[in-house]
C-alpha cells in the first residue's frame, strides 16, 4: 500500500504540487490524469525519490520513503519511464537490471530465474537476446514493464506508458499492467492521457489541476469534473457496464 500525505513541490517560486494526498491499496490501479504541465510526472518523480518534495511524506506500507536508503526504496518502488532506453543492450540484460537493488557483487541463479519467469509471463522469450533498440514501441514498453516486475516491488509507477503506442499495444500494455497488479498485489500509479483507457483499466482516477488533485472512482466521475480539469465539454456514454468519455463538437 502506498500513501501520499500533503506532498508539495516547487520549481523555484512556482508551486507545482500543492498538498497532494493519495492512497492506493495493494492491487489497486490508480490512473493519474490531467492536462500537460499539471505536475503528473513531477508527482511520480517525488514518489520514487528522483525529486525531493518540499513538504509532505510518502509512506509504503506505513514506512516513510524518505527515511529509506535508495537501494531499499528501489526494492519497494519500481518505475517505468515514458520512453524506452536509448541503449544498445539485450532485452535480457535490460530486464536483469531490475535486479540491481538486490545485486551485491554479481547476479545469482535466483536473479536469472526471476527474469526468466517474468520473460515467460510477458511472452518476451523470442525477444530476449535481441537488442532493446531494435524493439517496436509496444515490445520496448513490455520489456521495461518486465524490468520493473523483476524488482519485485510493492508499488509500480508508470509515466505515460502508452503515449507513443498504437491502440492495440496500448490495450495490451494496460491489460498486462492491470493483470499483474491484481495477480501480484502491486499498487500501481499510472500517468495516462487517454481518459477512456483510464476508465477501462483503472480502479480509481486521480485528477490533477493547478497542482492539486482529487481521487474519483471510475463510476464517480462526471462531465462537469472533466470540464473543470481539462476545460472541455464532454458527454459520458454507458455501453453495457463500461463508461466512455466523448468530446462534444
Amino acid at each position: 500500500m502506498i500513501e501520499l500525505k500533503d506532498i508539495s513541490f516547487s520549481y523555484g517560486d512556482e508551486n507545482t504540487l500543492k498538498d497532494i494526498s493519495l492512497k492506493a491499496e495493494n492491487g489497486d490501479v490508480v490512473a493519474i490524469l490531467g492536462n500537460n504541465g499539471e505536475g503528473k510526472s513531477t508527482l511520480i518523480s517525488c514518489i520514487n525519490g528522483i525529486r525531493k518534495p518540499k513538504s509532505g511524506e510518502v509512506l509504503i506500507d506505513g514506512k516513510a520513503a524518505d527515511k529509506m536508503r535508495r537501494r531499499e526504496l528501489a526494492k519497494l518502488i519500481a518505475y517505468v519511464p515514458q520512453k524506452s532506453d536509448d541503449c544498445d543492450i539485450t532485452v535480457f540484460d535490460s530486464i536483469l537490471l531490475g535486479r540491481k537493488p538486490y545485486i551485491r557483487w554479481n547476479i545469482t541463479e535466483d536473479d536469472t530465474a526471476i527474469c526468466q519467469a517474468v520473460i515467460n509471463r510477458l511472452g518476451l522469450e523470442k525477444l530476449a537476446l535481441r537488442s532493446i533498440s531494435e524493439l517496436s514501441g509496444g515490445e520496448a514498453q513490455k520489456a521495461m514493464l518486465a524490468r520493473a516486475l523483476v524488482q519485485e516491488p510493492k508499488v509500480m509507477l508508470l509515466d505515460e506508458p502508452t503515449s507513443s503506442l498504437d491502440p492495440r499495444s496500448q490495450h495490451e500494455v494496460m491489460s498486462l499492467v492491470r493483470g499483474i497488479a491484481k495477480e501480484k498485489g502491486i499498487a500501481v500509479l499510472v500517468v495516462l492521457h487517454d481518459i477512456n483507457l483510464a476508465l477501462r483499466f483503472a480502479d480509481k482516477l486521480f485528477l490533477m489541476k493547478d497542482g492539486r488533485g482529487r481521487i474519483f472512482t471510475v463510476n464517480g466521475i462526471d462531465a462537469e469534473t472533466i470540464k473543470a480539469v481539462y476545460g472541455i465539454d464532454v458527454d459520458i456514454a454507458k455501453i453495457g457496464e463500461r463508461r466512455f468519455v466523448m468530446i462534444k463538437d
Binding site: S45, Y79, Q116, E125, Q151
Partner: protein, 342 residues
C-alpha cells in the same frame, strides 16, 4: 530455454575478452622484438628468463620492457577514462582529449615544471607534477560536469565546450612558455608530443597502481554503470546513487588521465577510439566493456608504438602524433554519426 541461450551469449563475450587479453600479450611480445637492434622471439624469451647474453638482457629489460609496460598501463588508463566519461556523461564523443582534460592536465604539468624551475622530470618531482596535473585535470572535469548539467547541453555542445577549454589551456601553456627559459620551453614542447620512452619504472608503477585501482572501482560498479546507460532517472529508481557515482567516476577518470599525461605527455584520441572499438566486439554491457576497453587501449597503444619505432627506423616517432592521426578521422566519423541520429 532463454536462460541457456543467455548463458551461451555471456560465455561468448567472456571468450572475446580473453581473446583480447591474448592479443595484448602477443602484441607485447612482438613489441619486444621490434627496434633498432633486431631480436628474435627466442632471444626475447631467453632474455625474459634471464638466460640471454647481457647486451640482449639490457635491451629487453631496460629499454623495451619499460616502454611496453608504459604502453600497456597508459593505453589502459586512457581508454578506461574515455569509456567511463562516455558512460557517465552519456556522450559518445567524450574522452579526456576531446573534453580538454588532457590539455588541462598538460597545462598543470607544464606549470609545475616551470614553477619548480626544472626542465626535466627527475625522480623527486613527478609526484608534485602529477598532483598539479591532476588538479588542473580535475578543474576541467568539474567545468565539463557543470556544463553537462545544463538542460540544453547536447553531446556536440559539450564537446565544443571541450574545444574551447582546450584552447584556453593551450593558450595558457603558450603564455607560461613565453616566460620560461630555453631549456624549459624545449622540455615542455618535447613533452607535449607524448612519448612512451620517457616513463621510468617508478612512474610506470604509479600509473599502473592508479589504473588498477580505477579498474577495480569501475568493475565493482559495473552494474551501476549499466543502469546509468539506461538513463539517469532509471538508474536512480534502480537504487543507484547517481549524484555520488558520476562525480566519483569522473574524478577517478581525471586522476588516471592526469597521471598518464604527467609522465608520458599528451597521447590523444586513444581514450576516444579504444572504447568505441571495444564496443564493436562486446557491446555496451559494462561487465565486459570495462575490461575490454582497458585491453583494447593497451593493444592499440602497443601497436601504435610498434609503428612509431618501425615506420622510419631508426628514428622513433612520438606516439602522440600517430594516435592523433588515427583519432582525427574517427572523431569526425562519430560527429557525423551523432548528427545523423539527431
Amino acid at each position: 530455454m532463454v536462460n541457456e541461450a543467455y548463458t551461451a551469449y555471456i560465455w561468448h563475450k567472456r571468450i572475446v575478452v580473453m581473446a583480447m587479453a591474448a592479443i595484448a600479450i602477443i602484441a607485447a611480445v612482438l613489441s619486444l622484438t621490434v627496434g633498432s637492434a633486431s631480436l628474435s622471439i627466442p632471444d626475447v624469451v631467453s632474455a625474459l628468463l634471464g638466460r640471454a647474453e647481457t647486451r640482449v638482457e639490457t635491451i629487453v629489460w631496460n629499454v623495451r620492457m619499460p616502454r611496453i609496460a608504459a604502453a600497456i598501463a597508459v593505453g589502459a588508463a586512457l581508454s578506461l577514462s574515455g569509456c567511463m566519461m562516455q558512460c557517465t556523461l552519456q556522450n559518445p564523443l567524450a574522452s579526456s582529449s576531446t573534453l580538454g582534460v588532457s590539455q588541462g592536465a598538460s597545462f598543470g604539468a607544464a606549470l609545475a615544471i616551470i614553477l619548480l624551475g626544472s626542465g626535466t622530470l627527475d625522480a623527486s618531482e613527478p609526484y608534485i607534477v602529477t598532483l598539479v596535473a591532476f588538479i588542473c585535470g580535475m578543474a576541467t572535469t568539474i567545468a565539463i560536469l557543470m556544463l553537462s548539467r545544463l538542460r540544453s547541453s547536447t553531446p556536440s555542445a559539450i564537446v565544443l565546450s571541450g574545444v574551447a577549454i582546450s584552447s584556453l589551456f593551450s593558450g595558457a601553456t603558450t603564455l607560461i612558455q613565453y616566460f620560461a627559459d630555453d631549456e624549459m620551453v624545449s622540455s615542455i614542447v618535447y613533452w607535449t608530443f607524448g612519448n612512451l620512452g620517457r616513463a621510468t619504472w617508478n612512474e610506470i608503477a604509479i600509473i599502473s597502481t592508479l589504473a588498477v585501482f580505477a579498474l577495480v572501482f569501475f568493475i565493482a560498479n559495473r552494474w551501476n554503470y549499466n543502469a546509468i546507460g539506461s538513463g539517469s532517472n532509471t538508474a536512480k529508481s534502480l537504487g543507484v546513487n547517481v549524484e555520488l557515482l558520476v562525480p566519483a567516476t569522473l574524478a577517478l577518470s581525471a586522476l588516471i588521465t592526469s597521471s598518464s599525461v604527467a609522465f608520458t605527455g599528451c597521447i590523444n584520441f586513444i581514450g576516444l577510439i579504444a572504447p568505441h572499438a571495444a564496443r564493436r566486439f562486446v557491446g555496451n554491457d559494462y561487465r565486459f566493456l570495462i575490461p575490454a576497453s582497458a585491453l583494447t587501449g593497451s593493444v592499440l597503444l602497443l601497436i601504435t608504438d610498434i609503428a612509431c619505432r618501425t615506420v622510419i627506423a631508426p628514428i622513433v616517432l612520438p606516439v602522440g602524433a600517430l594516435t592523433s592521426f588515427m583519432g582525427a578521422p574517427l572523431f569526425l566519423y562519430l560527429i557525423l554519426k551523432e548528427r545523423g541520429r539527431r
